[in-house]
């Protein structure tokens, strides 16, 4: 019996879909059987991020409505062993499915896969409620911006209200130079405010844009720093203890001295 993990954020554009694609691919590279589900009905994108847009025949709504069998709608990613995508419908809207239907779908997928990752749509309405309906665990993605952290806080409250306790945090698109200058909230600041456990930190990285352009998740690129961050997160999801890379570690002598002397907070 596998595990269903929903990837959510509240705010749009913080990297839910990219995170889902990379963690799904990363987990499959660790040897697990993985299904990634695009729950953003009407605005599907996980297919293009994963480079599988040309292979869609059936979608999630077809499965729920009984137009096809679940296995017919699952697209096998030929590049990565054990990785499958269940695409969203593009022409319907999010009211085409109910939380109960998604719950049933997740239950069926858990029988077939080790990990089922659900890419949640932005917002807190029906689409969100559908996406979290069958989840066992949740991941909240945020970026170091006031708007994204604020929405993450709201989502954490809603997840806990839905009894999806202990969501884990991924901080995406952090810019180390700006953090060092004091012009961007750091990891501690955000954990402090959101009060949930950290699952991983993904640095802002051009290789993500390049990888998305090509439809090949950056997690497979050994030279990509964001890819490395996603590989670490995938391992942590499986329960492995991967130490956090201290991204602020290459600080100068004076800065270290300030810390030793207690001048820094």
């Amino acid at each position: 019996m596998g595990e269903v993990i929903v990837i959510t954020s509240g705010k749009g554009g913080v990297g839910k879909t990219t995170t889902t694609a990379n963690l799904g691919t990363g987990l499959s590279q660790l040897g697990y059987k993985v299904a990634v589900i695009d729950a953003d009905i009407g605005l599907r994108n996980l297919d293009v991020v994963m480079g599988l847009e040309n292979r869609i025949v059936y979608d999630l709504v077809d499965v729920v409505e009984g137009v096809c069998r679940l296995k017919q709608a699952l697209i096998k990613d030929k590049r990565y062993e054990g990785l499958y995508l269940l695409p969203a419908a593009q022409t319907k809207d999010k009211n085409a499915v109910s939380p109960e239907q998604i719950q049933k779908l997740c239950h069926d997928l858990k029988e077939m896969f080790d990990y089922v990752l659900v890419d949640c749509p932005a917002g807190i309405e029906q689409g969100f409620k559908n996406a979290i309906a069958g989840a066992d665990r949740s991941i909240v993605v945020t970026t170091p911006e006031i708007s994204a952290v604020r929405d993450a806080d709201r989502i954490i409250g809603l997840l806990e209200a839905a009894e999806l306790n202990d969501p884990l945090l991924i901080i995406n698109r952090i810019k180390i130079d700006m953090v060092k200058r004091g012009d961007m909230m750091n990891i501690e600041d955000m954990i402090d405010i959101l009060a949930i456990d950290l699952l991983g930190v993904v640095p802002d990285d051009e290789s993500i844009v390049i990888a998305t352009n090509k439809g090949e998740p950056a997690v497979t690129d050994k030279t990509s720093v964001a890819g490395q961050a996603y590989r670490n997160i995938a391992q942590r999801i499986t329960g492995e203890k991967v130490p956090f890379v201290n991204m602020e570690s290459n600080e100068g002598f004076v800065s270290r001295l300030r810390k030793i002397l207690g001048f820094a907070k």
Partner: protein, 94 residues
């Protein structure tokens, strides 16, 4: 001056501004309380207190913040009012 700035570079940075603004907005989000609600509370507090004390209405500050509960130190929302007193009114003469 530069020397002092060097040692205190954390205080005036934009990330600290962001953090403070965020903390404040989250206190309101989490307690589901609007600025209008606070204005109403503020007005009523002034009404009650001014029977007894002459207060500086411009200097009055009322906000929702977080405070540690005495029994177990968990953070709970608290309504904090800072009310500067101009002078006490003597109720016996009123």
């Amino acid at each position: 001056m530069d020397f002092l700035k060097f040692f205190n570079k954390d205080n005036g940075t934009s990330k600290n501004v962001a953090k403070e603004r965020l903390k404040l907005v989250l206190v309101h989000d989490r307690t589901n309380c609007s600025p209008h609600f606070l204005d109403m509370v503020k007005g009523d507090i002034i009404k009650v207190i001014s029977d007894y004390i002459e207060v500086d209405e411009d200097g009055l500050d009322i906000k929702i913040t977080k405070t540690k509960r005495d029994i177990d130190d968990t953070l709970v929302p608290a309504l904090v009012a800072n009310i500067p007193i101009k002078k006490m009114k003597d109720k016996r003469n009123a």
